[in-house]
Symmetry: C2
Subunit: 228 residues, 2 copies
């Protein structure tokens, strides 16, 4: 293992600097990131950016990856910080962490969960980081099942749906009964919907107490998945 050369280290620093400036632009100017504006801020020619990122989409992908990881880390940290046996507390903490991260980084959240950029297709590397938040929620339910403190609902699901959900269980590596799995998905969908509504300004102006509103809605999802 050879120590990275000076040039390699300078290059790595440059990449970080570009991403930092790009993130700042994302926060102020929205998703339509301008390479030239980033280059201007860095005091370099726009063409020089291409030494570090093959295209604007690649820069966007890098930012998306970092955002997914930041959100995933925030959710996982909140989950880990809560009392491991307090399932409901973990569920609420993880959800609140997701919302807090989104409110602190609205542009990056929009990049992850807003309407897809027209010409842009997210590469496969983004799949794993993207699943960290929902996987955290699933993990809480897994722990609950393992501890015997979570009784799944005994609903009968139509066959094709049950098969899909079993497959999804296998795919995620978290074996949950279909009826519980579908409710976990409902909770994740609701969490995403709540944050998006609040962030994209679609929440009614008549709801100034947003923290309380969010907490109550999240409590409903905890009820839905059967957390005591």
């Amino acid at each position: 293992m050879v120590a990275p050369s000076l040039r390699a280290r300078v290059r790595a620093g440059m990449i970080e600097e570009i991403k930092a400036v790009a993130r700042r632009h994302l926060a102020t100017d929205g998703a339509d990131l301008s390479l030239r504006a980033v280059a201007r801020d860095l005091g370099m020619a726009s063409s020089a950016i291409y030494r570090y990122f093959p295209s604007r989409d690649d820069l966007l992908t890098a930012l998306i990856l970092e955002a997914y990881d930041a959100l995933g880390a925030a959710v996982e940290t909140a989950d880990a910080a809560a009392d491991h046996d307090d399932l409901r507390g973990r569920w609420l903490a993880a959800s609140r962490a997701a919302r807090a991260w989104a409110l602190a980084h609205p542009a990056e959240y929009a990049l992850l969960y807003g309407s897809p950029v027209p010409g842009y297709a997210a590469p496969d590397d983004t799949v794993a980081p993207a699943q960290r938040p929902p996987m955290t929620l699933l993990g809480i339910l897994r722990d609950g099942m393992a501890a015997g403190r979570l009784t799944p609902p005994d609903e009968e699901l139509p066959e094709p749906l049950r098969g899909d959900l079993n497959e999804l269980s296998a795919l995620t590596g978290v074996p949950l009964p279909p009826a519980l799995m579908v409710r976990a998905m409902a909770g994740w969908t609701q969490l995403f919907g709540l944050i998006s509504f609040e962030l994209f300004g679609r929440i009614n102006r008549a709801l100034p107490h947003r923290d309380e509103y969010f907490d109550h809605q999240i409590a409903l999802t905890a009820d839905l998945v059967g957390l005591p």
Copy 2:
């Protein structure tokens, strides 16, 4: 009342034609609508478009308004077509209609419920049409309360939230108990989340039976609001 002049009629037709072409472009090329491309398709100079729409944003606003109205009409029609006394059936029908419209018009749905366009601020005219779908859902619950066939959950809500929800009731003109109101909002949020996840490709590939999945999730929201 004078009959509109020939020129006025030609002008109205031209406006419709521009919107139609723009809608087509929206569907194929995504939300970053290009005025020049629309003009090219119409065989006219890009500057000529400005005779009909003061700016690109105004054209976008016109499309957004039409989309809201189309979605609202679809939801209301489905609700009206269902048996008026079958509250649950109406709830499911309205939800399915929203999803069907979104799947048929993905670009327009993204325009309405995706991440907000950076420089664009929706004018106030869009507020009323935007509330038609959720108002339809509220109407179903109102009818249920009036018919005495819907018993609201007796939950105790923290005071600031209860106040907000009462205000929201007054604002919408649909008087619902806060505990029911918050669940109605939950259902609407969930509907939006489900459609967005499916449309924006964030739904897991392991769920090929999307109709069944959606139906089941919607049934859960119907349970949540207490529809028998």
